[in-house]
Symmetry: C2
Amino acid sequence: MVLRTDKKLPRATADLVAREANVSRVAVSRAFNPNASLKQEKRELILQVARELNYTPDMAARALVTKRSHLVAMIVPDVCSPWESQEIDALTTALQAEGFATLLFKAKSDFSMDPMLLTYMRGFNPDSVIAFTENIEPDILTGFLDRAVPIYVIYDDAEPFGGMTTSSLFDRLFVQQKEGIEQAVALLKGYGVNRVAYLSGKQQSLANTERQRMITQVLAAHGLAAPVIVPGDFTYDTAYRATLDLFRVGNGADAVFASNDVGAFGVIDALRHDLQLSVPGDVKVIGFDDIPQSNWKSYNLTTVRIDLEDRVRALVRLILRRLKAPDSAPLVETLTTRLVVRGTVG
Amino acid sequence: MVLRTDKKLPRATADLVAREANVSRVAVSRAFNPNASLKQEKRELILQVARELNYTPDMAARALVTKRSHLVAMIVPDVCSPWESQEIDALTTALQAEGFATLLFKAKSDFSMDPMLLTYMRGFNPDSVIAFTENIEPDILTGFLDRAVPIYVIYDDAEPFGGMTTSSLFDRLFVQQKEGIEQAVALLKGYGVNRVAYLSGKQQSLANTERQRMITQVLAAHGLAAPVIVPGDFTYDTAYRATLDLFRVGNGADAVFASNDVGAFGVIDALRHDLQLSVPGDVKVIGFDDIPQSNWKSYNLTTVRIDLEDRVRALVRLILRRLKAPDSAPLVETLTTRLVVRGTVG
């Protein structure tokens, strides 16, 4: 049997570390905060002494004093797509470099939030929360937060504040979809496409609603008819079945614009493997996101790109700016989109 | 300008909630702990009163008293594959249902852990840590933990304790790869395959080392030659290029066994789109993991399945069992693998 090792030293205090390293108590605090400025060699000396003395700042005790938990909460849908998994991953890496850990809170399948979870979230006292209006409205969320100012990701080009009327303070990451969608529609028009279908995402998703609205608007501006709406839910399987229906029961389309890349893969596979149609010869397909799989040879998907690294950097900037200025007016960052041309249109 | 709302009530105390709900102080604590037994209607009443009075238990204050942080740390590689992203996702969902939040800590690209991160981990005082020996050895990790007993995921069939000599207490999730690999080799042999190549994963990954060892062993047991080792790193792009090398510079193979599904997709695409070879006609391909993409029509991959839901359930069981018995001897859960037969062998 293996027993617990008893070799551990008892935890030292910060005062002892300060004394042994011959620095101030404040310098010890700073050494453990990657955001605090401190000479590199001084930081290394303090961390070295701390290791030798077995000193670690206790985040729980520290949170009570500093009112900083070093936790960032992120509200995500109950089932994550590759895009969301990758965003969580990239955000965690970026936050870790700034001394924060990521806490995930998952919404229910109807996109609503369990109040018990929100109570938990409040209990963890996060320094920031990243949220979507379809999961929880700012007015409700801020009621569950003590001092964190939430960040909302808003897909919208027309309404500067997402059309929301609210008295709550929250920061905004705007994702402007228009530019990429305009490039996509121009490309389709250049290839003589007339009948466009839009494979939707989940109805509760505002990203989906805004994508559909913007595509319809841009098609009209180019003198093209409104798209046939094919109901999807961002998954491959639903996209596959919906495409069979569109071409076997419905009237088909010259091009399918999918609400995300994973849906576009389902469309392509249904066209090629079941309907024996050629992509892009018979039908053109465009996705949305530009996940790494879009570059895989079996799909080689033309898609509207949201740059994940840019998105994560913008979120981290919003978090750090807000922590430096807790009472400032709403902060805003803006992302644009662009078309990545590959092999499914042409 | 939007101003911060001032409508929030000050936080109430647990004592006030107990008085108003006419229950004991202990019942209030239990109501906020999904693991504590409490009649459903009593729990709902207390949560209702707590909402009305704006009471939330503060996790930081609570952690100091109860020594429970309700946080589970997970150590993952610096860049997550679809498999790991999905595991993080599923584990977070399962832990959330038990009242825990997941904290991610990412190892460096050489698989080592930043000591600063470990110091942070200790500061958050997690109730449990899920780790891999290639990222950090149990003896080092336990030195950074106060009371959490880590869980190690161990891919191994021969050595009952992964061959590690250690005096540290840790729990084990064993993944037995042998059964699924035996089924895969039998299938390949049945189709008359002679020359097998193994597309490796990252060299630092023990999952990779154990897969290679087990495949070599099983091939020998079936009277087949040791596999040609093709260096990979679990990514699509490297798998694609390595496959071109294997067939253009090297002597090719009758079958390629990839260390993960994503690598298998790269192999298939290189064979079909660049080398103009048919899968499974000219070359058979087998993957490892069974991620959802393996079922997509473009790949339709035969693969050795590790059941993600089973894996997550086993991890949650280990966490809960350990919290109930902090001093018990090492706890063990075991997962097996099985072959999922689809279209890339036959």
